[in-house]
Amino acid sequence: MNGGGETHHFRRLVAIWLVLAVVLDVVYYFVVGPHVPPGTLTSTASGAQFDFNVLFLIAFPVVLAVWVYWAYALIVWRGSRAGAVEPEGGAKARGHLGIQIGWITTTTVIVIGVFIFGTVELVVPAGAGGGEGPDPIWTPTSHNVLPIQVIGQQWQFTYRYPTFGGFETRQLMLPADTTVAFHVTSLDVIHSFWAYQLGVKADANPSEDNVAYTTTKQPGAFTVRCSELCGLWHGAMYNFGRIEPKAQFFVWAQSTERQNAANTKDLPPFAYTYVPDANGANGAYYPDNVDPYSKVETYGATSPGK
């Protein structure tokens, strides 16, 4: 194979690859991209969708480069083809400096670029919906944040709204266009609060206040699942939630506060964490030697201290 032939093949390969890559990326971006999960219900969900789309747009040309070369070689350089040239050994088989430099440079740029992109996207916006522990580093810019406590217990999530009298419910309702701070904790074993369509995921650890932020955008439904294997009924530990327009949310919150008033007064004072071993509940596995029938012991809540 002479130098002119190699140049011809190289240009043809690049041309085929470039056309296919541009077509595939454009089609993906406009047709598939807007529908990629987890959707656009919140800022963090939109961020995750953007990340997936960027990774796909980078990956398609790379995959196509391999597939196009593979198909081209099978068709053009197959041994049975009339006039096929036998492979040459010797010095020409040792490699091509230009291709080697191009390959190493391209892959290095892609890997380092994805590394930087991924690292930035892990923390933007405001922790990217991940649990940041009790003292978050990446906080939202909004000064008007709605706190909602997520309480994991075998095998159900419940939610407390401290700004609405501290009522507790099994239904997670959120107002649209609002920055929300989820304070995630557990009353027993480790759970994980995963609101997929919200782009929020935070571990629920006993005696820990794990904070995750998101900003809701438009109304819609979402699912909450436990994503930490927590026992027999782990698979049934899910419920559904909704983002409602602000006015409807306030109607719901105020009516729920009224409806639950009788039970709310029996709840412990709101705290960011609770002490599951000081409530005297059944089970007799509590290291503080609580009399399970004592009327003194209650929920064991500690003051927020914040």
Binding site: Q153, D188, A262, D266, G283, E297
Partner: protein, 224 residues
């Protein structure tokens, strides 16, 4: 006996041993409490009466000290199971004979009645919507079907040596009667369970009977 026959014999014995191990393992994995059928002879539009009892220690079987639910079959016999076949789109009138003692709740949220017809239940004939578990005898167990949004706390008995400790409990043992109704949805399998950590001696009280079908949780098999 020749070498070939000895090898064949050893091979056959090995095959039998492996077969027995596989059979036993599969039998264990596939074992399940019986399901009580409330659909046989059911006429559409008529309610189904479901009677249960909760007992602090079941008193028999492989785990006699475990807390458990029991189900009364349509023929009146008590069955140690938490699996029921129920007709779809039907009112289920539930009566629970609660024989166990209790305590304050880990989460008082479970002291609320939620999702029943009328949003309430009756305790010994008296209507209630909330039980403050920090007062009185506390709450022993709950009856909850999370996927249907149903939750009913079962008021506890005062701790006493006279409490029934072996099922099925006679009605002259101290107990509370909690009644409520709900409607079954369309066909499907819906898990139900107790949400009170009542697995005595297990981590956070949620092991053992709390994680074993047939004791403190099971399934509603709703059929068309």
């Amino acid at each position: 006996m020749g070498r070939g026959r000895r090898l064949a014999l050893v091979g056959a014995l090995l095959a039998v041993a492996v077969g027995l191990v596989v059979f036993t393992t599969m039998a264990f994995l596939r074992s399940s409490p019986p399901s009580v059928d409330f659909t046989a002879g059911h006429q559409a539009g008529t309610p189904v009466d479901l009677t249960l009892q909760t007992v602090g220690s079941v008193g028999f079987g492989p785990h006699p000290t475990w807390v458990s639910y029991l189900t009364q079959a349509p023929n009146g016999q008590w069955v140690h199971t938490t699996l029921w076949d129920l007709p779809a789109y039907t009112r289920i009138n539930v009566t629970v004979h609660q024989y166990d003692s209790g305590s304050p709740l880990r989460n008082q949220q479970y002291g609320q009645v939620i999702g029943t017809i009328g949003g309430d239940a009756t305790l010994n004939g008296k209507t209630f919507r909330v039980i403050n578990a920090n007062n009185g005898n506390g709450v022993a167990h709950t009856f909850a079907i999370p996927t249907l949004g149903i939750e009913v706390p079962l008021y506890a008995n005062k701790p006493s040596p006279n409490l029934c400790a072996a099922a099925p409990c006679p009605t002259n043992s101290p107990h509370n009667i909690v009644s409520f109704s709900f409607r079954t949805p369309g066909p499907g399998q819906y898990p139900w369970q107790c949400f009170i950590p009542c697995g005595l001696g297990y981590l956070y009280g949620n092991g053992g009977p709390m994680q074993t079908v047939g004791y403190m949780g099971g399934f509603l098999k709703v059929v068309a």
